[in-house]
Structure formats: C-alpha cells, structure tokens
C-alpha cells in the first residue's frame, strides 16, 4: 500500500459518501477533568463514524511548566493545540499525496508560535489573547516534484478540518452548570 493508505478503499469511501452523505458525519467528544493545579486529564468519548458508534479509549494529560505555576507533567494546551493542528494537516497531506500517486519517504512539520501572556493576564491593551500567528514548515522527501509538493501543501491546508477551524471564525456555544458547596 502506498504510504500505508489503501487508495482503493479511500476512493470507495469518497464515492460512498457522495451517495450517502450521512456516512461523512463524525461526532467527536472529549471530557477534561481538572486533576491538580494546572494539570488536567483528557479522555476521548466514544465517537460516531457515520451512523455507527465506535470505542475511543484514549487518555492524556496536560500541564504547564513550573514557571507558569505548574509541574510540567505533560504538554501544555498550546502544544496540544499545535499538535492537533499539525497532525490533521499531516493526514490531509499524506492522503492527498497518496491520491496523487506520490510515494512519500519522510514528512515532518515544524511549528513555532509566540504567545504574549499579557493578553491572558489582562495586562496588555493591544496584545491578542490567542496566537496572533502560527508558523510552520513542512519538510518532505518523496518522488513528487517541487511543483507537486507545493500544490499538495496548498490543497492539504485548504482541506484540513483543524487548519480551517483555526483560520476561520468558529462559533463556540458553552454554558456552565455550577453547584455551590457550603464550606
């Protein structure tokens, strides 16, 4: 299998979804529990792939470095954000390369981003709370031409759900359910 992706099955799935759009709907869920200080534990909820639920038994922890009042017990939320962004771009890039018949040898994406915490702290008047810019570089070796890889880069970012979520406004709908405990 090219790049260990079955392009025949990928093509069949794309055409199945064209006929049965319900098969394209993925329901995701995640539960995050506060453990201690800045450390939290994330656990995937069962997912729905089309009309069928599937088990997702994965957990991980996030924490802040000691300098930010944490214990450095895991990647921090910004790193996890970049990880989710980059691994989604990777799926898109590899799937696109496979569909174009390009054999990949290595792919690496380097991310750098600077956050000004004055926004988080409420200190800065002009600084944004979130990342103002995310920089990345894709290092790829394979049998594609420079032009093919450039085109693949453009298309894979424009079809990456996480890249598009970050690049475009997203509606966040939240509420809080609180219980006051008598002390």
């Amino acid at each position: 299998m090219r790049n260990n992706i079955p392009v025949a099955a990928l093509s069949e799935f794309v055409n199945e979804v064209a006929d049965v759009p319900e098969e394209a709907l993925m329901d995701y869920g995640l539960e995050i529990k506060w453990e201690s200080g800045t450390r939290s534990r994330s656990e995937t909820k069962p997912m729905k792939v089309g009309p069928h639920q599937i088990s997702r038994s994965f957990t991980w922890k996030s924490d802040e470095p000691r300098q930010l009042m944490g214990n450095n017990h895991g990647p921090n939320p910004q790193e996890l954000l970049l990880s989710g962004l980059g691994s989604c771009m990777m799926v898109s890039f590899v799937a696109g390369a496979t569909a174009a018949g390009i054999q990949l040898e290595t792919v690496r994406i380097d991310f750098d981003a600077t956050l000004d915490l004055r926004g988080f702290m409420g200190l800065g008047t002009n600084s944004t709370v979130g990342f103002p810019e995310v920089k990345y570089r894709i290092y790829v070796t394979g049998d594609g031409t420079e032009e093919q890889f450039a085109e693949l880069h453009r298309k894979s970012v424009s079809h990456s759900p996480n890249a598009q979520t970050i690049m475009n406004p997203v509606q966040m709908t939240g509420e809080i359910i609180s219980t006051q405990i008598e002390s």
Binding site: R2, E12, V14, S55, R56, S57, H159
Partner: protein, 440 residues
C-alpha cells in the same frame, strides 16, 4: 515469466491518480465481489443458485465444475504488484492466504445464497467468528451478546476479550429490554445466534435489527442453524452473517470451514483479519464445500421432512417428556419460526424419562444416528449436552438454562423418516424393557 492478463476480478480496476483536484475526484467505486468473472445469475430459485452460482467450468478444457486450484502462490505481473500498492489486492490472485480461485468460487456461491455483496470462507466457523468480531471492534470496545452462545464463541468473549481490554455483556436473547439496557456508549457490536443450541430458541432477528439500527450498533448473527434455505439473514437488516460451514452448508460431516457474508464494505474490513489471523481455507476443502452446497436446498427439504416426522413421533411417545422442534406447535417460538423460517432444519432436542442414564442407554441402543457431536450432516448425529456441549456445567447450572436430565441433542440427517422412527421405537422399547429403574 509473467502473465500480462488481469489475474483476478476483471471488474476491479486500479484507481486513477489525481492529476489535479482533490479526493472528491477519485473515481473507483465499491462493487460486489471479488468474482472470477462477471456472469449473470443463472436463475432465481434457491436450488438453481445452489447448483450454478459461483461455479466456473474450466475455460481451457471445458471440464464441468470449478477446478481445484491446489496452489499456494500465483505468477505475478505488474497489475498484481499495483493491486498491492493501491490497496485492491483482495481482487487479485497473489497468495492463497489472501485469496484463491477455489475460495472465490465457493465465496460467490455463498454470497449468492445469502444475498450478500461479498463473502469470505475461513478454515473454521470460529476463524470466521473471531475475524468478523475483531474487525468490528476497537480498543476498549464492548459487545452485547446472547447468554446461551455456542461454547467456542462464549470462550472468545469470556477468555480472549478481557486480554484485549474489551468486554462483553451476555443477555437473555428473549429479553429485548435487557438487550437494549446493556448497550453502552462504547458498545460497537451486538452478537446473536439465529437459532440457539440446544434448546433451539428462534430469535426474533427483526427486533434485534431494530434495536441495533436505532442505537447505532452493528449486528452480527451466527446463522449456522438457519442456513440460507431456511432464512436469508441479511435480508432482515443484519450487518454480517457468519456460519460454521462444517454443518448444514457443507452437509457431509467431512470438513471444517466457516464463512462471513455481508456488504462489501464490511467484508473488506474482515479480510485483513483473515490475513492477520491466518484462518484461510484450503483449496481442496473449498471444492468439497462448493460441491456440498450444490445440494443444500434438497438436503434442507429432506432434513425438514424427516425431522418433522420424527419430532411428531417423539412428541407422542409416552417416554418422551418434552420435544423442542421449532415447527411443532408446542415449541415456544412456533410463531416466530413460522414468520422467519422458510424451511425447517434437522435439529431436534428432546428430554426422556429416566434422566441422563436413560439417555446414555438410548444413544447406545440406536442403530442409525451416530453418537457424535456436530450437526447438519446427511447422517443423523446424536449427543447428550450433559457429557458434551454443557459438560462443564453442574446439573443445577444446566437446569438454569433449561437443560433437564435426560436431554438429548439430535441432528436428523436425510435418512427416511420411517427408518428413523422405527429405530427410535425399537431403541425406546429396548431401554425401557430392561430391569433398570426408569427414573434415575
């Protein structure tokens, strides 16, 4: 040396790579198969399908019937290498663990009989069951299954599942509320048997389908006791049907095999488990299975005829306390059987006076039925749950699942009903005329 022709399913062609555009421009669609050739259905009748579907006369010599392709490996060409690279290797001949023309022929026949897009034969029913279940579950998955499963399947869920970090809740297959209540957010699969062993409960498959679809869970049904002549399980909406083909499908008690059939999408997911777990069926066994299937329809009618006559005889015999045969009006699932089954089967379970000791004397006194486990052969087979299928249970445990002392498991073959009735009549007379007490 290589052969330039397409060696496999000619309707399956390599996907075109994108020159421009994105994934939406990929052209290859999923089709039924893989099949040796695209030929029209020979007829709509079950017996015509049994005889002709999937069977391929030898194109070189004209020899009638599918040749036995007793080969482990195949001469490769560029097209086969490409099939591996592009992920359609199931549609080409490469190596017999992946696929072999003898397997394909019998798979096509089985798919036609079940009304399935695709089927895979395995080296046993348990290989089919394990590969199917493991293809449809993920890390941390949960399965809801029947509480009176076949022992081998019970062992898969009870012994292997916890090792993989997966779990199974077993529920009374009559209790639909309990089945639904057992479904958890991580439940991926409901696993049931169409007709249970040994009490021959006929499960209301349409109700299971309704629950599975509403709760977004896959449903796999083991229809070993209800082969396609009796019920086309997939037509009720079941996702995948599995069989021990060693039983009715082959019908001659001379091979061990299994099959999984269903939509191409799901069978393609099961195929990598066939490769990983290695339960491929030998070409010679495929030939035997294909030949056995040709008479499935006439055999099932003969099983029903002899079993119905014998069941009625047993029901009237003064030494027989209970008879379980789904086509007897006394069977608790008679209405369900009439609704779901187009044909009966040879399995009869009955309880005789005198407990297990009398049952042992009965199986010894009979001349026609062989004292052996298994079922679905042309010859009648007889065994006792207490020392075979439920031997690890205590008397009370057996009673809890409805197996009383004196319970006998009979698979009626295709012998003449008059001969079977005469044999049982004589055997009963022999064992109850002895001086041993009738009540153990």
């Amino acid at each position: 040396m290589s052969n330039k022709n397409i060696l496999g399913d000619p309707s399956s062609i390599a996907p075109d790579y994108l020159n421009d555009g994105w994934l939406n421009e990929l052209g290859r669609t999923r089709g039924a198969g893989p099949f040796l050739a695209n030929h029209p259905a020979p007829g709509r009748g079950m017996s015509t399908t049994c005889v002709h579907a999937g069977t391929h006369d030898d194109p070189r010599t004209g020899a009638v019937g599918t040749p036995i392709y007793q080969a482990s490996t195949f001469v490769l060409n560029d097209n086969q290498y490409q099939s591996v690279e592009d992920g359609f290797a199931r549609d080409r001949f490469i190596y017999s663990r992946y696929g072999n023309p003898s397997q394909w022929a019998v798979q096509e026949k089985l798919a036609a009989l079940e009304g399935a897009e695709s089927a895979i034969v395995f080296s046993s029913g348990m290989a089919a069951i394990t590969s199917t279940v493991m293809a449809l579950v993920d890390k941390g998955a949960h399965v809801v299954a029947s509480s009176d499963l076949y022992g081998g399947t019970f062992n898969l869920f009870n012994q292997e599942f916890p090792t993989f970090g997966m779990s199974c809740t077993m529920v009374d297959s009559y209790d639909f509320d309990a089945i639904e209540a057992a479904i958890q957010p991580n439940t991926q699969l409901m696993y049931f048997e169409a007709i249970t062993n040994p009490l021959l409960k006929v499960i209301d498959i349409p109700r299971l389908v309704e629950i599975a679809k509403r709760r977004n869970v896959r449903l796999v049904v083991d229809a070993t006791f209800a082969p396609p002549v009796a019920m086309r399980t997939l037509e009720h909406g079941v996702d995948v049907v599995v069989h021990s083909a060693s039983k009715y499908l082959n019908g001659h008690s001379d091979l061990i095999a299994g099959v999984a059939a269903g939509p191409r999408k799901l069978i393609d997911m099961i195929w990598p488990r066939l490769l990983n777990y290695g339960g491929s069926l030998d070409p010679h066994a495929c030939f035997l299975l294909e030949r056995g299937l040709k008479t499935l329809d006439v055999r099932m009618r003969a099983h029903e005829e002899s079993a119905t006559a014998l069941a009625k005889f047993l029901e009237t015999h003064p030494r027989v306390k209970k008879v379980f045969y789904p086509f007897l009006e006394s069977h608790p699932d008679y209405d369900t059987a009439k609704r779901l089954l187009k044909n009966g089967m040879g399995n009869i379970t009955f309880v005789i006076e005198g407990g297990d000791k009398a049952a042992l004397r009965l199986v010894d006194a009979l001349r026609i039925p062989k004292q052996a486990t298994s079922l679905g052969g042309v010859e009648s087979l007889i065994s006792l749950p207490f020392n075979t299928s439920q031997a690890t249970f205590t008397t009370r445990q057996r009673a809890d699942i409805g197996i009383d002392p004196g319970c006998v498991r009979l698979s009626v073959g295709i012998e003449d009903a008059d001969d079977l009735i005469a044999d049982f009549d004589r055997a009963f007379a022999t064992i109850y005329s002895s001086k041993e007490p009738a009540h153990a």
